[in-house]
Symmetry: C2
Subunit: 533 residues, 2 copies
């Protein structure tokens, strides 16, 4: 058990008394618990606390967690002493005061991720590049399935995953959610064999949410961001939970923020395929988004995801980044780069189709094509999410993308390899000479990645564009090292010769000796070209 | 002289008296003139008129036109009787009342163009698809050059052209503007040989603007929209007219609206390459754009154009459409279609490079490439502007794109041919199966255009996507005619056989006999596939 978990465990013992200066790592979770029995709906009890550190002041909502227990969770956003006061109409939970010390983050705690320009950074300034996957039912199915998913994630290079909170109607496996975010009052089978679920939508199922907390914590320990899908169109009349009013849904969002807002790795994805949710309009999504952002004291990353090539109003200030389903933008790095120029925010293609063997065309990309799309997007300066849809129907296997379980594909390893390459670079890639050179990306002065993609070439004439994004241009006489990276084979081979740049000749520089780089006649090569001091 | 010009000539005789019910075509220009001598700056005299037709009420600004003459111009936006009242502190121009009859439009008067969805329509509902070109100095150089440009435009299929109002520093030919929008007080040569221009920026040069009026009228008679470039970065310190304050520039915009706002074919392009104007920020452009739209009672089409791949905040309500400089979006129709999905407004690539033979890479597209880019954009559901940059430096020839004069290139004919094809179609094209099928565009039920582009194929397996944009999907048993359109040769050849659609097989339909369309092994083919009743 890690130190901060121990601390949280200790803090759980606090009820209405105040301890002497507990401490917690900055960006970790501090928690207060209160015991109180109410005759009414305990979810209606208002409870909050204001945490203050110098001029910083953060007010967080408390929440009911079952068994007469109320909790207040807080994530310190700066090191140092924080003092707090609680607010409630319940006297025993009102005006409780205390202090805590937020200590320096340790280990893989780099703080919350936020958007900066067209990229992301951790609170400590470290670059965060999302290499995400998709596990819709990560926190929905049987515990052993959930555990298997977490375990498989721990072996990959993924640092983000998308998953749902509301139940999803999966055709397979014939597993169904163990519990639901809302309180299930009864479940009956009609004469037509169709199940009818009766809910108390004024109450939440705390078992469900305790499990969700646990999964988010597990992901946090692995350094994986939890991109929570708050709504989706996969209810299909089975549970009716997508058909509540905006007010009822906002109550759900506020409960969620009170519970999991103090987890630094949480992102809000307002919806998956918002346009396919027939009970909501574009205007409704704006209402829900604004409510979500207004209720979130931390400003967690927030976006919304649509159907194929359906774009939301991502220019709204509420959206920290763009989250889309569309393969058009990853057909080439130039196409990716155009979106980046348009939005001037980080862009994540959160579905470009998935590697798999399923009949549906969005679920049958070859591992090569999946890798190719991810590479195109990343080198064009955007981010691309993985998913995997292999199924052997006879065996009723899990489909990793929806159900979780174990990875079977081949692209995830290449994506991990690519992550390593891009994290080594001084800056995230972008096109060196936008809309003019489709293959050359720059990561800074004297640092290029040339994406040869599906071209099979025997040799490549050494050349670089005069333009180098916002960085210094290549200078005549500079010597460059070339490494041939085979993305499919996951090998890096240093080329034995150095190249020396000419003056600019018609917008480009070449090697003074007019030399080529000899290549293996293979696709999916990436050339890493770096200045030699 | 056309009837409406006669009427305008007659109306020019009106001073402060009121005639009996003059009439003018709806969307044509109605004009009142007043004679008044002022001791102050005549451009400071405030004058306006309110025109009323039932519940419609439009207030337009008047303007000073030199020689003690003030004018009020008005474009009726609906047929029927309009009454007006003038407003001014000058007694002789105040509270002048009168009426006019707006008659039904005739000839090529289809009214003002406005944006509808991702396309454009004339006021009478007719579809307008911009097939534009670029003539920066159309109204700036010697009259004989201007006449030559107008004459050459009359022979093409272009229905829009972009041109500048502020002087442009052209390296060639060594011709310079005949007059300027602002009053030139003096022009002196410094010891360093550099010319110094001294302006009275509180006064406009009415000769300049009378010429501008004339050119806009000539274009209107040809059915060509005048996309006026209001600012640009090509002053380069020579005239200093881009370095005025926003207030001074707004005065210029308001004068312009008062003068040319009553021309139905006028569009506002706030700037060419706004980001290269070093005297203005993105915020300044928003200020100027808002002022322009607020002052325009007609809501003429309005956009702003940036440098390569520099995108403005086109989601602002002030922008009726997107006007960009970027070739990335025309690399493929899929790339074009992505932008359309993002903005949900009409998009015009107002520079993708130009056909030409100049060293600069933006001015040396082959006519084939120019045609290819235009075709890709149009079939992806956006619009693409032509330009031509041929120069023989020894002869100091005009460069059509900047100076005007005569066309020398080869793409303009193909663009006219393409215009004819697209205007015949029931709807403007869009991708039939976005982000999945890169080649098939739909223009409605049973009406497809398949863009084979640079592929050279001996045959093409007859097939259509199941998806058909917003239109009915192909039905099994439907018979289709195929026409092979050679865009480069400008020929249309009907294929001798009909094809009959299968049921959907894996997202597509094929011919029941599995037949191919035999093709000439040539690039730039477009297949027009239409349902046979």
């Amino acid at each position: 058990m890690r130190l901060h978990n121990l601390l949280i465990a200790a803090l759980l013992l606090i009820t209405t008394s105040v301890w002497a200066q507990p401490s917690v790592e900055c960006w970790d979770r501090f928690e207060l618990a209160f015991t109180h029995a109410t005759t009414g709906n305990p979810f209606d009890v208002e409870l909050s606390a204001t945490f203050t550190n110098g001029e910083r002041s953060i007010t967080v909502r408390g929440f009911y967690d079952g068994n007469d227990t109320y909790r207040i969770r807080f994530m310190p956003t700066a090191e140092g002493e924080w003092s707090y006061t609680t607010h409630s109409r319940v006297r025993a939970m009102n005006r409780q005061r205390g202090k805590l010390i937020a200590t320096a983050p340790t280990g893989n705690n780099h703080g919350m991720v936020s958007a900066r320009g067209t990229g992301f950074v951790y609170a400590d300034g470290r670059r965060y590049m999302p290499f995400g996957t998709t596990n819709y039912a990560l926190a929905l199915f049987r515990p052993q399935t959930q555990e298997k998913t977490i375990e498989s994630l721990s072996k990959t290079g993924f640092n983000k995953t998308r998953f749902c909170i509301l139940p999803k109607d999966f055709p397979c496996p014939e597993e169904e959610p163990m519990s639901y975010p809302f309180l299930l009052k009864s479940r009956t089978k009609g004469a037509d064999g169709k199940e009818h679920f009766e809910w108390d939508i004024t109450r939440f199922d705390t078992d469900f949410f305790q499990n969700l907390d646990h999964r988010i914590e597990q992901l946090m320990a692995l350094g994986i961001e939890a991109d929570l899908i708050l709504f989706h169109p996969y209810d299909r009349g089975m549970w009716g939970l997508d058909a509540l009013s905006n007010e009822e849904h906002i109550r759900y969002l506020e409960y969620l923020i009170a519970r999991v807002g103090a987890y630094r790795n949480v992102w809000w994805s307002l919806a998956n395929e918002w346009d396919l949710v027939k009970t909501k309009t574009r205007e409704d999504w704006k209402v829900l988004t604004r409510a979500m952002v207004a209720a979130d004291p931390y400003r967690h990353l927030c976006s919304i995801h649509g159907g194929t090539a359906v774009y939301f109003d991502y220019w709204m200030d509420e959206f920290t980044h763009v989250s889309i389903q569309d393969e058009g933008p990853v057909f080439s790095s130039t196409a990716s780069a155009t979106l980046r120029q348009i939005y001037r925010k980080p862009i994540i293609c959160d579905e470009i189709g998935y590697e798999g063997n399923i009949r549906e065309r969005w679920a049958r990309l070859s591992p090569q094509q999946m890798t190719y799309f991810v590479t195109n997007g990343l080198l064009g300066g955007i981010y691309v999410t993985h998913g995997e849809c292999y199924r052997n129907p006879a065996e009723k296997e899990f489909v990793y993308w929806s159900d979780g379980g174990e990875l079977k594909g081949e692209s995830w390893r290449r994506i991990a390899f690519l992550r390593q390459i891009l994290e080594e670079a001084p800056n995230a890639p972008m096109m060196a000479d936008i809309s003019r050179d489709e293959f050359t990306s720059t990561c800074g002065e004297g640092y290029y990645l040339v994406n040869l993609g599906k071209q099979i070439l025997s040799s490549w004439r050494f050349n670089l564009p005069r333009s180098n994004g916002p960085y210094s241009r290549p200078k005549a006489g500079t010597k460059y090292k070339v490494e041939i990276i085979n993305l499919w084979e996951m090998t890096i081979t240093e080329y034995p010769e150095l190249f020396e740049a000419t003056e600019v000749i018609d917008y480009r520089v070449y090697d003074k000796q007019h030399r080529d780089v000899r290549l293996p006649d293979m696709p999916y090569l990436l050339l890493r070209i770096t200045k030699v001091e």
